[in-house]
């Protein structure tokens, strides 16, 4: 029973991590560079929700579209500042510039909102269900549902729409895509906007149950990075599976061995994967790492 209870909690956490990892992989594929500000965009999304909730007292589900739009705009700014001027430099330049953007976001949030943890309204009404002795918080169900809807929507967008196909073409081979008339710059900008919107959504979803502080981003980017390494560098489905595995590890293994030991085992497993199966559990479509 305990394991089931833990799995339910882990699933909600994993669903939010999956949104972060998905945004991380989209930018990785589009630019071949690691966006280390992705975790800080999660915190920014949480604080965007805090700010909007101060103006519009409403459930999180009502705030969500506003947070998504605001964070998409933030993604465009990150693209313009941290990626576009450095697009022809080695990936390490973008890697460094996104770290810088992340630090600016952290300190900006600290200056604007202060260092104390903040919370936002629940996505739907608070409370919990009791099913067969298991306690399932409404918020956990809402996190899983919203994440599932968004992941499915992104999949349909990438697979079935012309814009999605152009984004994938840009990710696969930018010079060829440009030669075929794909507006590469717009596609890269769209990718940043989408990734930031996903991160912002994760921030809103997590901020009620887990609160948000300006320095939370570091934790999220580490989890996303591990998820992507486990799932296969650049593989979207792998990143989602990796995110769920990380979250289940954090809950179920932590309950068995304690959190410190669980984290040591998680990083140990990461090292083993890097040595034994560097392409990740699900294979690696992108051969170039930052």
């Amino acid at each position: 029973m305990d394991v089931l209870q833990l799995a339910i909690n882990g699933l909600a956490l994993g669903a939010a991590y999956a949104l972060v990892a998905l945004g991380f992989v989209l930018i990785l594929n589009a630019t071949s560079a690691v966006n280390f500000a992705q975790g800080d965009l999660v915190a920014a999304g949480g604080f965007a929700a805090v700010a909007i909730a101060g103006l519009v007292p409403a459930p999180g589900i009502v705030l969500l579209p506003l947070v998504v739009m605001l964070m998409a705009a933030v993604g465009l700014v990150v693209c313009a500042l941290a990626y576009w001027p450095l697009r022809d430099r080695p990936p390490v330049a973008v890697f460094i510039s996104t770290i810088a953007v992340g630090i600016i976001i952290q300190n900006g949030l600290n200056g604007l909102f202060g260092a104390e943890p903040r919370t936002v309204p629940p996505v739907i009404a608070g409370g919990h269900l009791k099913v067969l002795g298991l306690v399932v918080a409404h918020q956990s169900l809402a996190i899983v549902a919203v994440a599932a809807i968004l992941v499915t929507a992104v999949h349909i967008f990438l697979a079935r729409t012309q814009a999605g196909r152009m984004m994938r073409a840009t990710a696969q081979d930018r010079p060829v895509a440009a030669a075929l008339g794909v507006p590469v710059a717009a596609m890269v900008a769209l990718t940043f906007a989408l990734a930031a919107a996903l991160a912002g959504t994760a921030g809103l979803l997590l901020a009620n149950q887990y609160f948000v502080t300006p320095t939370d981003g570091t934790n999220f980017i580490v989890k996303a990075y591990i998820a992507v390494v486990i799932g296969g560098w650049g593989r979207v489905g792998g990143a989602l599976a990796g995110a769920l595995l990380v979250a289940l590890f954090e809950t179920i293994v932590a309950a068995w061995a304690g959190h410190s030991v669980a984290m040591a085992l998680l990083y140990g497993a990461l090292l083993v994967i890097l040595v034994v199966r560097p392409q990740g559990l699900f294979g690696e479509p992108v051969g170039r790492r930052a």
């Binding site: 305990d2 300190n107 260092a115 997590l206 149950q209 887990y210 809950t251 932590a254 959190h259 410190s260």
Partner: protein, 377 residues
């Protein structure tokens, strides 16, 4: 051989002391050096606000100047801020940061420049180094954790505590004192675990703790993790009493939780200004709200009291940093939170309170006072 050297040294020292006294008599200053940015900005801002409120309302006949500098989170920034502050003459004392690592770096400088540091830092080592220039106005773990443990055993009658603490230096120090207090009552914790500050999902640790069959959850965590643990415990239907560390008394921590989630939650603290208790305390809370637009916590009140004690020394004629130090070391001072007196090592605060929430509001009531906790040992 050269007998004039000691004379010259004594003369030079006299000149330094006399000129310091003269400068102080002209325009005493109390720089406020606290962490306004970084992970301790919440506590540092409370420190600043408490000090500024006291400095803006000095006793009759005392005119004092001050400036505020952000020490961030690194020792180097704190030392630079202190050296900048000491460039100008007339420093009577310094309001020094809550962050222990910064204080450790500033202590040698305080001894070199011979200027008192008044702080609310809880790092035990600060007052164990034989430096006569430090004065700590917030009760340390030797006071608060003893009160914490005594309340759990004596008032709640608990015999099977589960202790959850942070893996930071703050958490480990508090855990040590808690465990030792429980041992002194013949009580052994049925479960203990250290938590990293990044842990968001408390379900695993709660599951393990509950499997050990505790009769109370004893927390020594920072603000965010405390609120996370209380929220997730209540969401899992765990109704055990929770006795938390001082983070839970902070209005900003209580603001993260619904009043119903706070039922049967208590916390130790040096004081609880928002709980009121006297007309003077209520006037302080009203003045603080009016000036800063936020609720004061125990850190703000402790720094307010500390700064008022320095101002009382100036009002009583202390005309040099040496005189201020000697006055602080020798006098009792009736502050709003408690009566402060040095134990000979600069520990000024010896009382603690336990506050409890009733499940209907976010303002706790004081459930128990413990006075002179470490002085009685």
């Amino acid at each position: 051989m050269n007998t004039s050297t000691p004379r010259r040294a004594v003369s030079a020292l006299l000149i330094v002391v006399l000129s310091a006294a003269a400068a102080l008599a002209a325009s005493p200053r109390i720089p406020v050096l606290v962490p306004i940015t970084g992970f301790l900005s919440l506590e540092g801002t409370a420190q600043r606000n408490g000090a500024v409120l006291a400095l803006e309302t000095p006793p009759a006949g005392v005119a004092v100047g001050y400036e505020v500098a952000d020490t961030g989170t690194s020792p180097e920034v704190a030392v630079n801020a202190m050296e900048r502050a000491l460039r100008d003459e007339g420093v009577a004392a310094i309001v020094a940061p809550i962050l222990g690592t910064q204080m450790l770096a500033m202590l040698p400088l305080a001894a070199e420049y011979e200027v008192p540091l008044v702080t609310i830092s809880g790092t035990a080592k600060l007052t164990e180094m034989g430096n006569p220039w430090i004065f700590r106005f917030f009760p340390g773990d030797a006071v608060t954790k003893v009160a914490h443990g005594r309340f759990v055993v004596e008032e709640l009658g608990a015999r099977r505590p589960a202790i959850l603490y942070q893996t930071t230096a703050y958490g480990q120090s508090g855990h040590g004192h808690l465990a030792s207090t429980f041992r002194s009552f013949g009580v052994a914790a049925v479960y203990e675990e250290g938590l990293d500050v990044s842990v968001k999902d408390m379900t695993p640790v709660l599951t393990k703790a509950m499997n050990a069959g505790p009769d109370v959850l004893v927390l020594h965590l920072h603000s965010g993790p405390t609120a996370l643990l209380v929220r997730q415990a209540r969401a899992l239907g765990i109704t055990l009493p929770v006795v938390a560390g001082s983070a839970m008394h902070q209005p900003t921590t209580a603001a993260l939780l619904e009043p119903a989630e706070l039922r049967d939650v208590c916390a130790e603290s040096g004081s609880s200004p928002v709980s009121g208790g006297s007309p003077e305390m209520e006037r302080f809370v009203a003045a603080y709200r009016g000036r800063f637009g936020s609720e004061p916590d125990a850190f703000a009140l402790a720094q307010y009291d500390a700064t008022r004690m320095v101002l009382a020394a100036l009002a009583d004629g202390a005309s040099s940093p040496h005189a201020v130090r000697d006055w602080l070391a020798a006098h009792d001072f009736a502050g709003l939170a408690m009566t402060y007196r040095s134990d000979g090592r600069g520990n000024m605060a010896h009382d603690a309170v336990i506050v409890c929430y009733d499940g209907k509001s976010r303002v706790p009531r004081i459930a128990k006072r413990y006075e002179g906790v470490d002085l009685a040992n």
